[in-house]
């Protein structure tokens, strides 16, 4: 049988992807770019969940089901987030996060 990779390999990749996503979410001004960076972070989390569901005994069902829920919430977030961005672009002629500061106290 194929030798298994250590779980740490997946965890390190996951950390790298999460850090890149965090960097993008903090750096980008464009709201769609921020949304895409958040998708990156959610995928890193999913990778962690699935890796542990494979390597921890008895964790198969919880890990995979949680990954399914994360995918569900990510899809909903993308749909509503993009709708808000499009609405913003239509009404304000901008898609930049720093330009929308109406709720800032």
């Amino acid at each position: 049988m194929m030798p298994e990779l250590p779980v740490a390999a997946y965890l390190v990749v996951s950390v790298v992807l999460f850090s890149i996503g965090l960097f993008g979410a903090l750096r980008r001004r464009n709201a769609i770019m921020v949304l895409m960076a958040i998708e990156l972070m959610l995928n890193a989390v999913n990778l962690n969940l699935v890796a542990f569901s494979r390597y921890l005994p008895g964790a198969v069902a919880p890990g995979q089901v949680f990954a399914v829920f994360v995918i569900t919430v990510a899809a909903a977030e993308a749909a509503v987030g993009l709708a808000i961005v499009l609405l913003l672009a239509r009404s304000r002629r901008t898609a930049d996060v720093p330009d929308v500061r109406d709720l800032k106290g």
């Binding site: 250590p6 895409m36 999913n46 569901s53 993308a78 993009l82 672009a89």
Partner: protein
């Protein structure tokens, strides 16, 4: 060096390179396409982890739906800022925060890595394994049946909540992006009372003072 390592290395190279392109590319369309590559690579990781159901769901939902929505939003928008080309900055720094995002991201990553390094991975399945039992063997039905069973027994309430969330997101997205179409309801002419016309011999020339009274009398006559 086994084939698992080769596949892992290829996936990691594609994923990390494309992820960097997602956050660094000056073109938003290129960023979206590289995000699709990252999502496919994550599906490949799921296959390496023998989670075939999640790999398929990843491709279907993320690459098939979320990426399509994002690319549609980019392509269908008439705003040059969304469509890219201008206003997106290349390079590692941020124009508002300078090097702070890079520092924060590297700090978080380093913190987690140090945390991993301080853990002794002695639990038998977590250390390097020559072979774990195949998931399909341990669960008897592969991961698909297992996920289905778990979703409808232990996780039934979260499942229903998630479906409600999807419904709310669907309605919300439609309501938000709906264009306000000015529908002018035309003033419809009043329905012609044929019995009144037959009795009085004059057509519905227009609203007159006696119209309501006529109609009332006509209906009363019809009933009698």
């Amino acid at each position: 060096m086994s084939w698992a390592w080769v596949g892992f290395a290829v996936l990691t190279g594609a994923a990390v390179f494309s992820a960097l392109r997602v956050v660094l590319s000056p073109s938003i369309t290129h960023a979206a396409l590289h995000l699709a590559i990252v999502l496919v690579a994550v599906a490949g990781y799921f296959l390496l982890l023998q989670s075939e159901f999640l790999a398929v769901v990843q491709v279907l939902v993320y690459v098939g739906a979320v990426m399509t929505v994002i690319i549609f939003a980019i392509m269908l928008s008439d705003l040059p800022l969304i469509r890219g080309g201008a206003g997106l900055r290349a390079g590692l720094g941020s124009e508002r925060f300078g090097w702070l995002p890079l520092l924060v991201a590297c700090g978080v990553g380093a913190l987690v890595l140090v945390g991993y390094g301080s853990v002794v991975w002695t639990a038998a399945p977590l250390a390097f394994q020559e072979s774990l039992p195949m998931l399909a063997d341990t669960t008897g039905q592969g991961t698909t049946g297992l996920i289905g069973r778990a979703l409808f027994t232990s996780y039934l309430v979260p499942f229903e909540v998630a479906s409600l969330l999807l419904l709310a997101a669907l309605v919300g997205a439609i309501v938000l992006t709906r264009r306000e179409v000015a529908v002018r309801v035309r003033e419809l002419p009043k329905p012609v009372d044929l019995r009144a016309v037959a009795r009085t011999g004059r057509g519905p020339a227009g609203p007159k003072a006696g119209d309501e009274a006529d109609a009332e009398r006509a209906s009363a006559g019809g009933e009698a």
